[in-house]
Symmetry: D2
Subunit: 429 residues, 4 copies
């Protein structure tokens, strides 16, 4: 995400009444009013292709017609919008679909917990539960991990840009190195040694929390072998193994869960972003039944269980995950994306990052990556950076994007690399 | 909120797939599927009057027809559902209405910040900002305060039921006594003495955070004079004065803000619950412009700025707050509520608690209060308890409730008190 | 203690090589080289009467001849100076004397633990043990309490002058109000209410730590009734009751322990300062046998068990505590001190503070109290201030001081009050 | 240090009145009463050779005749024993000698600060100062580091045996890997990468604290090159570079400071253990003058500046460090020790650890190392283990030991290895 200080606001009201904490509006200083599929419109009617997709919140695109219809039907019939954590029809149907379509075919045995409908609240609940289950305090998280910005999650988040504002202690977290953080060194073995050594200063952990692909951290994709080792280390040392699947899950890497082809068996999985399917606030924690030791309302929140999201979330499960066709399509698109990006990267001596429909190019400096994204926006392509220095140009388009629009978007991206790199060469000569 | 361990689930799916952390479903073990105004229906078609209203999230009732229409129109037109913190038409219109209808007539100069759409995320952002602005760490919160359950907010929350699960340090908070906590003793003077005394062990605070009426804490209503003193103490000691108006705000006490007739000038105000008007997840932090020192995305979140909520929130502002009529009506209802509850309380030797449409009766024990709520539910009235021991029977019905339904609901409540107290007398005799 | 910034150093070496953290040298800018009883000499041979006595570390005066002889004999015979926590003859004899002279006659059943030989290390050990015994984290300490400046103790210390330097979190402590902190209000009842209230925000405490007289905090003396209540509150809420007797113990208030005539039964007592009798670094934690659950070296330290101090400490027990004569004498002196100070206080409209040989006068402002101490030093009397604003003129002379020297010292003090108050009156006229 | 649970106490009084926290008495269950040089006597008159030397506190042996004489003279002349932080003759002479003999010849520009006379108090002061100077919170310490057990120091200490007792948060520390912790991997480069990466989760540190040889951690000796890199990393990232020289300093590795031949320039150096020369409680923090920003008494303590220790400390400087002869002798002894230990290690397939007169043998298991120490004690040699599993047999004899006694002690050690390893071989056959 760009952190440029200058921003042209589109309307004086934003300057006057909205806090300057906003950021994406700085990269894309237009006022948008409509969106369908992978296309988003500003109020002058200009069309943009959306390669950002709400940072992976809109995996099925904007306003999918079936999800939209389900939601309008529900509202029209005075379906319950807000029901705290009471039983509702909408929740029942969502749970039923999740069990039938997601859990059973994957032989998974989990319960779902609904808390405040944001990713960070899911992480807070997951860490709290792990501490309650184990009676331990310390959580291990990884370099470049991003888990949210409320205090409990923030402690586990790596980025200093988010952490430095907070004068309060960010305690209870020990940091380990992610896969490949130190090149060829096996960082899982390092962690195991530290946890096995009574004098290493690492306390016995309540949990190890990890993303399979670090979205905000720069599209670092861990290998299945490394993740398996981390899971084994967690179990060996009595810690819960938590996969934060908020950005990489719900199809982004090609399967519903980002880890399902890796033979992993996490104790807890956090989900949010694309879980509602339509961009509505929604989050859930999947937990092994044996860890379901919560007292009633021990972790609560006003908006836990967003009924509109139950409706659209269920519609999305039925539409996209009832058979293998969507998964097959996404995998194919992921391969295509990889090929296109590899060609661009190779042309400029850069490297590819990520996995599935969550790939990008390491443009080495944030300044360059941002110039490329800016050049794309001039061609009506919305795309963003990630990574510690915003140095990764990141493609996160809807998984449902039409091939034609996908190709054209990648053409714009390719062209933007050429323009930016060319003008640099020219400047250098 | 009841914490009873037994619960009859309505459907096996909830037992099988949903975490036992749910709580309201234990008090009201029906599956609900429809709701309009102050009426909620279970799937057998039984009607219930809702004196809980999403814990003050449904101040305008369920599915208000105008809010509902505005939302359906917006969705039908492919309005943007999720836009991160980009500029959208819906946000612009909400900000414009908020400025015109709320801020200007009250001579208030604030900016709005949108973060994860839950109350606790608003509190996290408020506390983080106060720490950033002051460079200090400690926050002062009050006995019986409730500010949420993510780690930063939880530290400020008084209830041990929420706190004890969390093995991690809840640091950075010093606890002060709320108005009337120690009977006639002026607890504001106590706090001032402690903050003025270099050797009291109280550190110079970044903020003092307070609710004007403590909803979860048992409908304790602070006096305007005490709140004014607390504000002066905050300013005297260089701390930001934060009003957490999440439960008491948006009309619940009779005015849009719960504090607006008290001559207060808070640095930060947190809003959530009824801000969207329709029960959609939505939250905002109002901050004085001089405190708007955030860097871009320094506090962020995927669902910051829920566009559906911008639409319904704006519709609610236009419908209910453009003139004084709704405010007048709510005040009248609040007076009626007070009279009815006083009569019930007097009849049984109990006392009244709260203010405006946020009043209840101290039934002294949680067991008795819960018996009364149970007796109400048998008569199809949904009502809940609050307070440290769940000893307060709390009326939080929609502000828009028809007088006829309001009266009938209160009749049921009166009758429930009689039945429970009568059977106790009988048992005692 | 004075905090004046200006200081005349006596010798350039101190300016050149010693850190400016030193403080008493600022009030008494002479280089001292010899001391006997209540008299201390600077290197020019000038005699000073010592009403500071190492802040209660020299209760038996400087270089008591019997203690001195015992130590010289021990060293001459190559007695072990440093033995870690091994068994030594000197430790055995000290323990034997402590059991025979102190514990048995008082029907006390405690074990002694030796840690790093400073008061703060004793407090650290006491708090650590209380946390281990109870499995809880939070400790309750009081306004104006002083328990040391290492991180664990510092959290319990009230004075912001010591706390503000430390950027690290001072967590795990909840602050309660000391006896009479809020005038007539019963602060013990306040604490009991907060601990009994599940929603007060006070966590179940591991310990309550209290001084019977707050030396650094301004000679605040708690009543026996209040302390008894605090002990009962601790027991009621499952917390250990810790008396920090570092400054008030070892005879200072007239009895060996400061609390022994109050019917108290603390779980843990910390001792340091005058325990060695001769000013040698020495500290101990007295703990009920049932709390002795330490693993070997679980709390350790290089200088735990200072053998020289075992020797002098035992000699002091034998000399001063084997019968009641010293106790009787100290009580008489304490009464005399009280009478003299009361007369001075009354003469100037001030109030008396403290108890036994630990009394002083509240001169209301630090500036005035420091002027008085300065005026004393001009007459060769060493005396210091305490209290949050250094506003208390504090008499802490050796308990063994000869009546003649005691009287002369108090005459100087009386005269200093007159001079300072007189010149103020003159200046005001 | 052995942690065996069984212990034969020599005298019932220890069982009855002393806490079971004691540890060395478990390995050496005799009551000692006299000690000279490297010889210690139990009260039956049995002589033991001391290869433990108070864990490096008795570098000049027990009761060195010149130190002893200086102390007796001082006490006999009624020299001040306790003077808080006032100027005393004894302090002046110590500072003068330290400047002349230690600082000037090494071209060092430091000030000395005296706090509570224990190593952990020195570490607390050092970390507090670093936090004050930098305005930062986090401290980096290393795997297997030992810095004391009061709360601030304990956070920096690696050993879980000390840490697990403490239920309170140990915040403010990030752990890095010591030299060679991960075999050939350059752990300094690892740390630099983590501190340079804005998204690594490592916060900008206030300080990096390191021992040049980890005594308690298992005689791990860092290379000069690695330490130099760590110093450069500290400076590059704006952190103070702190060397904890409490165990390795004062001649133990062959030079006065353990780091003086490595071209290092630490901001702060902590000293304790052998600083008094005679085993008296004493500690000091050496700090660069530009960091001397303390307010008066901002860090204080009753026993700061132990005058008896000033006397013996100065006598030790004059006797052992005024010229190079002692240093030369210690280096030679260190080489001899290395040769002897290497021969023993080679004979059994073990490896040598440590540096100078701080060397030992990695016996691989704690059980074996303790068996060897026990076999030594049967031959009247006092020697202990260290390391995370007590697996290192550690020689820490007085630097002043006579060669004859040194040789005999090493013969006993050699023989103990043979006996223990032989009986194991026999058992295995």
């Amino acid at each position: 995400m760009t952190m440029s200080d200058t921003e042209k606001t589109d309307s004086a009201i934003f300057d006057r009444v909205e806090s300057q904490v906003r950021s994406y509006s700085r990269s894309f200083p237009k006022t948008f009013n409509k969106a369908v599929g992978a296309t988003i419109y500003d109020r002058d009617g200009t069309e943009y292709t959306d390669f950002l997709a709400g940072c992976s919140t809109l995996n099925y695109g904007h306003n999918d017609p079936d999800l939209k219809a389900a939601l309008i039907d529900y509202i029209s019939a005075d379906g319950i919008a807000h029901g705290l954590d009471m039983f509702t029809d909408a929740k029942e149907k969502f749970l039923e679909a999740f069990e039938r379509i997601i859990l059973k075919p994957r032989n998974m045995d989990y319960k779902l917990m609904f808390m405040g409908p944001t990713g960070t609240n899911a992480v807070e609940a997951a860490l709290k539960l792990a501490r309650k289950v184990t009676g331990r305090n310390t959580v291990i998280s990884f370099t470049n991990g991003f888990h949210g910005v409320t205090l409990g999650s923030l402690a586990a988040t790596g980025a200093s840009s988010h952490r430095k504002a907070f004068n309060a202690g960010l305690s209870g977290v020990q940091r380990a190195a992610y896969d490949a953080y130190f090149g060829d060194i096996d960082t899982a073995d390092m962690l195991d040694k530290q946890l096995s050594d009574a004098s290493s200063g690492f306390d016995a952990p309540a949990a190890i929390i990890v993303e399979t692909v670090q979205g905000e951290g720069g599209l670092n994709a861990a290998s299945g072998a490394w993740l398996k080792k981390i899971e084994e280390i967690a179990k060996k040392h009595g810690a819960l193994f938590i996969i934060d699947d908020i950005q990489a899950g719900i199809g982004r890497t090609g399967t519903f869960f980002s880890f399902e082809e890796m033979g992993l068996d996490p104790d807890i999985v956090t989900m949010a972003k694309s879980l509602s399917g339509m961009g509505l606030p929604f989050a859930s924690v999947m937990l092994k039944p044996e860890h379901d030791i919560w007292g009633p309302a021990e972790h609560n929140g006003t908006f836990r269980g967003n009924n509109h999201a139950f409706v659209t979330g269920r519609a999305a499960l039925e539409k996209f995950w009832a058979d293998k066709s969507f998964e097959t399509e996404v995998k194919k698109k992921g391969e295509y994306l990889g090929q296109r990006l590899k060609a661009i990267a190779d042309a400029h001596g850069f490297t590819l990052r990520g996995r599935g429909m969550m790939q990008g190019i390491n443009a080495v400096t944030g300044e360059r990556a941002e110039a490329i994204c800016k050049a794309c926006f001039e061609q009506n392509l919305i795309i963003e950076t990630s990574g510690p220095d915003s140095e990764i140009v990141k493609v996160l388009c809807p998984l449902t994007i039409e091939m034609d629009q996908f190709t054209k978007g990648l053409d714009i991206l390719e062209n933007a690399f050429e323009r930016v790199m060319g003008s640099r060469r020219a400047a250098a000569e």
